[in-house]
Amino acid sequence: MASTMHVDVVSAEEQIYSGEAEFLVAPAEMGEIGVYPRHAPLLTRIKPGSLRIRVPGQAEEVLVVVSGGMMEVQPSLITVLADTAVRGEDLDEQRAQEAKREAETTLNKANDDQEVATARAALKVAIAQLHALEYLRKRARH
């Protein structure tokens, strides 16, 4: 029995991750989901948040921050179509903080629905990145 599945994470600009995985956690629209190999076929939208991929033979999980997108789950294949994605190690605390502040100021100043929606989305992405950084830092301490 196959105990791994193939995971591809792609964004419109580039391929982020491609490889085998034992387990994956994704921020699905209806709540975070964990996927083991031989999962039932599933198509779901994903929210801004981080994907955690457990790679066989590697103690540390691979972390990818996505700002939303789509995930397809097949028994032995997972495809994540991310709108924009950043690998965990490429994250930058300062830039994430800045982005968060900027989104908050725009949100406060926004005066029509569309501006509010755009600022909210940007804020969610920044918060997702900061959460991911927090997680990375905790892991480093252990």
Partner: protein, 288 residues
């Protein structure tokens, strides 16, 4: 020496032109590498979206997306014309626009109206010159394909399709084959045909959908549509730089051979003048 003043001026001016074309060639070469990388980087996404769409096409979900449904009668079509913003790229835009015009005429003869969405300055100018109906445009994209600039025109075309203003949508762009070869290409975008997609598994299954079938399919189809256009724009940019590089190399070489032949003419004239002068001196001396 007074000989060949015009020729010397001419040589100088050709040399100046050569300097410009050589600089443009070098700029295009370095940009070409970057645009090609970008084009390749965008490919995995396009492939994966296509793959997911192909999987989905086998499962026959209940929800029907208007973007997928084929219409029986076609009264009006939309064409997305992807060109470069700048010229001096050889026959790149001319070839593409020729194909575009041929296709538009074909539609017109069949009594089908054409709406144009111009991406790139050259295409927009051509469409306006031809007095075509331009419903959306995106110009000054620079050298990086930017999704946020494309979203507007794409939404306009998608909406026009959804509300029945147009019954099919095509895209015309220059496909990048290699540095020496770029092909004007016409593809049908809408309705998205799922026939071409490869079926990998002979058995069928049903997906679980979160949050629900309709919104997931809408989302996916939209992504697919956008990714195809994004890819086309990226390819067009790589083609533009490659075509410009080749065109500017040819121009630089032509300038070099022109300078050579002008120099030859100049030297001949100078030699003739010297010979005449000498023979005048000699015959003058003989007379004394």
């Amino acid at each position: 020496m007074a000989v060949g003043k015009e020729i010397r001026t001419k040589i100088k001016s050709v040399q100046n032109t050569q300097k410009i074309t050589r600089a443009m060639q070098m700029v295009a070469t370095s940009k070409m590498r970057k645009t090609q990388d970008r084009m390749r980087a965008a490919r995995p996404y396009a492939e994966k979206v296509r793959q997911v769409m192909a999987h989905l096409a086998q499962t026959n979900p209940d929800a029907e997306n208007p973007l997928l449904k084929k219409r029986d009668e076609i009264k009006r079509v939309g064409i997305i014309l992807v060109t470069s913003d700048k010229g001096l790229a050889g026959g790149l835009n001319a070839n593409l626009i020729r194909q575009f015009i041929a296709k538009s005429l074909e539609f017109n003869e069949a009594g089908i109206g054409v709406d144009v969405c111009a991406i790139g300055q050259k295409g927009l100018a051509a469409a306006q010159r031809l007095k075509m109906n331009v419903t959306a445009s995106a110009i000054h994209l620079g050298d990086t394909p930017q999704m946020d600039k494309l979203i507007g025109p794409l939404t306009t075309m998608g909406k026009a399709y959804a509300d029945g203003t147009i019954d099919a949508l095509y895209i015309v762009y220059t496909r990048f084959v290699n540095t020496m070869k770029q092909e004007p290409t016409l593809e049908q975008l809408l309705p998205i045909s799922t026939d071409k997609m490869v079926v990998e598994h002979p058995y069928s299954w049903e997906y679980l959908f979160e949050p629900d079938v309709g919104s997931v399919i809408d989302f996916l189809v939209r992504r697919y549509f956008e990714s195809v256009v994004y890819q086309a724009v990226a390819e067009n940019m790589a083609s533009e730089q490659a075509a410009r590089m080749v065109a500017m190399k040819a121009a630089t070489d032509n300038a070099a051979s022109l300078i050579d032949s002008l120099k030859l003419t100049y030297n001949k004239a100078r030699q003739a003048a010297i010979t005449t002068e000498l023979s005048e001196i000699v015959s003058g001396a003989a007379a004394v």
